[in-house]
């Protein structure tokens, strides 16, 4: 049904001028004269242009949650700015049916000297509500933010977290047909982040369409059934989020290497489960990581260190050939060394980054480093939250028992 499409992006491209254009009349007027005199600088400007987006097309149905992922500078923010109308595409068309609300930056439009109450009204009208509407929702907004005690304090005295909470609370109460969320979940504490995700879930259940842009791959996987991956302004992958995430992880693991020693380097890293090379695994699976090391000259004795970080770059664990009882290795020019780490993947669902170091333990010297060597995505079937999956099981005896209290005061 054609009426069910709330957003249609068709062959959209966006060109930017690199660097400063004519920022002042002082520069602009001489350049106009130069143009009249025939000294064209067209070739110079063509070089200074770049395409932030090229030929991007997608459609969104009513009630759909849609993820956009990509590395920094891939064009994620640009596409959002085009959809919201902040900028206009160089070519192509964007069609929006319905009220659109964007959370591109939480609390944009807050004024530090105004109180929380005043900023709710200011920010609310900026996001498209009427004052009467805010009057009605005011109590709900304050309650969600949890800032009732500070509502008449100027927001310049707020902490960053409080600022973000108030901003998200206002935006979440706009009741838009289309909600655009860009990286807002990276602010605030864990408790509030979870509440944001819950709120977004309830907005989605309420029938709104949500576009979610984030580096938080876990949140994308949880919230959005369908995604696109942007790479250098083009759609590199589109479809079910799991597949798009896989494509993203594969492309990002190809980057990020830097050799520290001129002779010794990590030549290859491969991760596989039951001899299939993969990047998405089930929690609890057995996996193997192959590391290949090459040498171009006389090498120092080294061990191979493997470490794993979670999506907040907290190190989950590390191990090494040395810890595992394998002696340090020295290589001569042209020689290779390879080893395989076997791991039980007792990790909870999410994104994990594997890093590899060539390390000389006795002098504490890093010879080569590759991070992220491999990025993987872990799926959990069981209900575990966190980083670890110790495969919990539940055993319960008897029926629910009412415990009688003898002390009246503790009852309440």
């Amino acid at each position: 049904m054609a009426t069910d499409i709330v957003l249609r992006v068709e062959n959209v491209s966006k060109r930017f001028a690199r660097g400063e254009m004519h920022d002042s009349l002082r520069d602009f007027i001489p350049s106009v004269f130069a143009k009249i005199a025939g000294r064209s600088r067209a070739s110079a400007t063509a070089k200074n242009e770049f395409w932030a987006l090229r030929d991007v097309s997608f459609e969104l149905n009513r009630g759909e949650a849609f993820g956009i992922i990509g590395a920094n500078g891939a064009g994620k923010s640009t596409i959002l700015k085009l959809i919201t109308g902040i900028m206009r595409p160089t070519t192509g068309t964007i069609e929006v049916n319905g009220r659109l609300s964007a959370l591109i930056e939480v609390g944009a439009g807050f004024h530090p000297d105004l109180t929380g109450r005043e900023n709710i009204y200011l920010n609310g009208t900026i996001l498209g509500m009427t004052r009467a509407e805010i009057d009605r929702k005011f109590d709900a907004i304050v309650e969600f933010s949890g800032l009732a005690d500070f509502i008449d304090t100027p927001v310049k005295r707020y902490s960053t977290g409080m600022y973000a909470r108030l901003g998200f609370s206002v935006a979440a109460h706009v009741d838009p047909d289309i909600l655009i969320v860009d990286e807002v979940l990276s602010v605030g504490d864990i408790v509030f982040q979870n509440r944001c995700i819950e709120k977004m879930n309830s907005i989605i259940r309420g029938g709104a369409t949500v576009i979610f842009v984030s580096h938080n791959l876990r949140a994308i996987a949880e919230l959005c059934p369908r995604s696109i991956l942007l790479e250098h302004g083009q759609i590199a992958s589109a479809g079910p989020s799991q597949e798009v995430l896989k494509a993203y992880l594969e492309s990002s693991s190809a980057q990020g290497r830097r050799s520290l020693s001129s002779h010794l380097f990590i030549a290859s890293t491969k991760i596989r489960s039951a001899h299939l090379e993969n990047v998405a695994f089930d929690s609890g699976e057995k996996i193997w990581l192959d590391v290949g090391v090459e040498c171009t000259g006389e090498s120092e004795p080294f061990s191979v260190v493997l470490f794993v970080n979670d999506d907040r770059q907290y190190q989950v664990f590390h191990t090494s050939t040395e810890y595992l009882g394998y002696p340090a290795v020295s290589l001569k020019a042209g020689e290779r060394f390879s080893c395989t780490f076997e791991l039980d993947l007792n990790l909870a669902g999410g994104t994990f980054y594997f890093g590899v170091l060539l390390y000389r333990f006795n002098v504490e010297k890093t010879l080569d480093r590759l991070f992220p060597a491999v990025t993987i995505f872990v799926n959990t079937l069981a209900e575990v939250r966190g980083v670890l999956n110790p495969h919990p099981k539940i055993t319960a005896f008897g029926s629910p028992v009412e415990i009688e209290s003898t002390n009246e005061a503790t009852k309440r």
């Binding site: 009349l25 002082r26 105004l114 009208t125 009427t130």
Partner: protein
Amino acid sequence: MRGALEELVDRRDLLYMIAWREIKIRYKQSVMGFMWAILLPAVIVTAGIVVRYGMSAMSGKQLSGQEIAGITVKGLVWAFFAGSLRFSSTSLIGNPNLVTKIYMPREIFPVAAILSQLLDFGVAAGLVFVVFLVTRLGAGSWQLLWVPLLLAIVIALATGWALLLSAACLFFRDVKYLVEVVITFAIFITPVFYNVEMFQKWANLLMLNPLAPLIEGLEKCIVYGSAPNLPWVAYSAAVALASLLAGFYFFKKWEPGFAESI
């Protein structure tokens, strides 16, 4: 143009809040509060009286109460007009966050700047009205009916120019300084401290300034109870309408480039 106006009406609550913010911040940050509304016009009026006193001392004529009343009326209108242009021209570049992060009809910023100046003007005008009532300066005649029309033309003129200047300031950073300089010296080619009649055959040249017929007209109907110079008022109205149309047209034409140029 019609679309732009519809959008503006549609988002009137936002316009109200942005204007309210301007006012609130200005009065919150200063101890003087509403004194600000009086200060600038008072300075201009005082300067005008000093200049006129000097002129009358040289020509040997006494400075009349009506002349002082005239300078007060004109100084007030000038303060509003200059303040409107000054604040609206920086209204877009003063809100980079809102211009680049959220979509809204951007003409709200210059228009809100004018609304907040209008409030200051209202406060000062109310005070002057009371003073005129008490001192029995000013003519309570039917000619006062011209006042709303003349003020409306002043506001339209300010709005048209404000739209153009706010956009120009965004694209070219030095326009801001240019506006300052022009406003500072424009008071000399606008009949605020003097009347155009003093220049006899050059009077018409001064009337080409579209603000001149309006200011002179306001003085005439408020202080002297006579009708404004209608052909010249019509000329001002035409310039104001053209400015308003051009302002909206070009503002809307340039608007898509705001976010990437700011």
